[in-house]
Amino acid sequence: MSTSTPAAAPESLLAAPDQASQRQISDEIAAIHARTPADAARTLHDFAPYRSSVLRHPTKNPRLVDPETIELYSPAFGQRDVAAIESDLTIQHAGEPLGERITVRGRLLDSWGKPIANQLIEVWQANSAGRYIHQRDQHPAPLDPHFTGAGRVITDEAGRYLFTTIKPGPYPWRNHVNAWRPAHIHFSVFGNGFTQRLVTQMYFPSDPLLPLDPIINTIPRQKDRERLIGAYAHDLSVPEISMGYEWDIVVDGPDATWFETEEH
């Protein structure tokens, strides 16, 4: 490809010209997991079964540095930044969205177990038919006029958050033949320090697509993958209204308070 031609639109890049079978992809995943050392990163950047990562992962190891000044702080958010209504994805339009209404609740913690208050969590997801409202999503499933699929919340003084939404459907993509993403909600999270910035995805328990999915399997260890799966919480289900899921988020990395409270 010549560098003078305009960049290809993302949707065309989603289709690999020589698509592998699920069996090939699953074999590649198993081989990489088997040879990954125990002290490897929690998420592998170099993970060819996720085809679009091939030209986008750094080839050199990251430099280990002491974070400085600005990196030890996080942008400050507050109620001014987010309206309370933004945490309920089912009331953003005139009518009720289709699908299984759910609430997702949890706590935002640092790795010492301390709650992170007044920080921003953003979510986005497909609708119950597995369709994103994004204009480049070409999946021929219906859009829901009553569902956008984006929300925000500021954690409370105990680090808690709660979203009301509908359960997203599985989403087809073109990484390989018959590739389906397990149902997932994208999460974007700010911690106490910019070092703790996290973008991840929450999955649902007992989803048969999880072992087949190259994206969750960029995480080589089963225990780490399980940390992305929300737990069904019957106590959180509301009779005749909604199903409840619980999912705590733990951010990692030094921040300004870390240096004040711990010796190194």
Binding site: P10, P58, R63, D66, A76
Partner: protein
């Protein structure tokens, strides 16, 4: 780790931002950390490139930077810009040509250190975030004393220092892979 350390919780692993982040992450004036053309406001921009040197049209770049006097912004309101409060935080999506751009203030030196923007990169096809820094050019002495820059080869160091344009703005490309690959960081 010291003996009194409490039990550490295992962190939640990161995942790719995917292709369809725009409707979830976009907010008004997200790349206008400073009000455009206001006193002291500069453009910080460049391209995000893959291992074949092709532009990446679906990357998200976030910056967090000190104010012109080196102070760390603690003001709220990065998501509801009022046109004058400086929060230091901005978010930009790359264009179809792989270009990102911010209006922001040039960070000043904090406690005698070489000033830089803290940067996080997300993209479709990038399984987890990448951290890097964009240093402000023109602080040779401070940069020679900077622990990170001092430990790098000249070619690596060049991937972390922005270029001043004739108009006084800052230009800086991010290369995720290959020749002149940006130095990424782990803390």
């Amino acid at each position: 780790m010291n003996e009194t350390a409490r039990e550490r919780l295992e962190p939640t692993p990161g995942q790719t931002v995917g292709p369809f982040y725009a409707f979830g992450l976009e907010y008004p004036h997200q790349h206008e950390v400073a009000f455009p053309h206001s006193p002291g406001a500069i453009l910080l921009g460049g391209r995000v490139l893959d291992g074949a040197g092709e532009p990446i049209p679906d990357a998200v770049i976030e910056i967090f930077g000190a104010d012109g006097d080196g102070s760390i912004p603690r003001a709220r309101g990065a998501f509801r810009r009022d046109g004058h409060t400086f929060t230091g935080f901005g978010r930009a999506f790359t264009s179809d040509e792989g270009h990102y751009e911010f209006w922001t203030r040039e960070p000043g030196s904090h406690e005698g250190r070489a000033p830089f923007f803290a940067v996080v990169v997300f993209a479709r096809g990038l399984p987890d975030k990448l951290h890097t820094r964009i240093y402000v050019p023109g602080y040779e002495q401070l940069q020679q004393a900077d622990p990170l820059l001092a430990a790098l080869e000249a070619e690596e160091r060049a991937t972390l220092i922005a270029t001043r344009t004739p108009e006084g703005h800052l230009q800086h490309d991010l290369r995720l892979q290959g020749e002149k690959e940006t130095v990424f960081l782990e803390f």
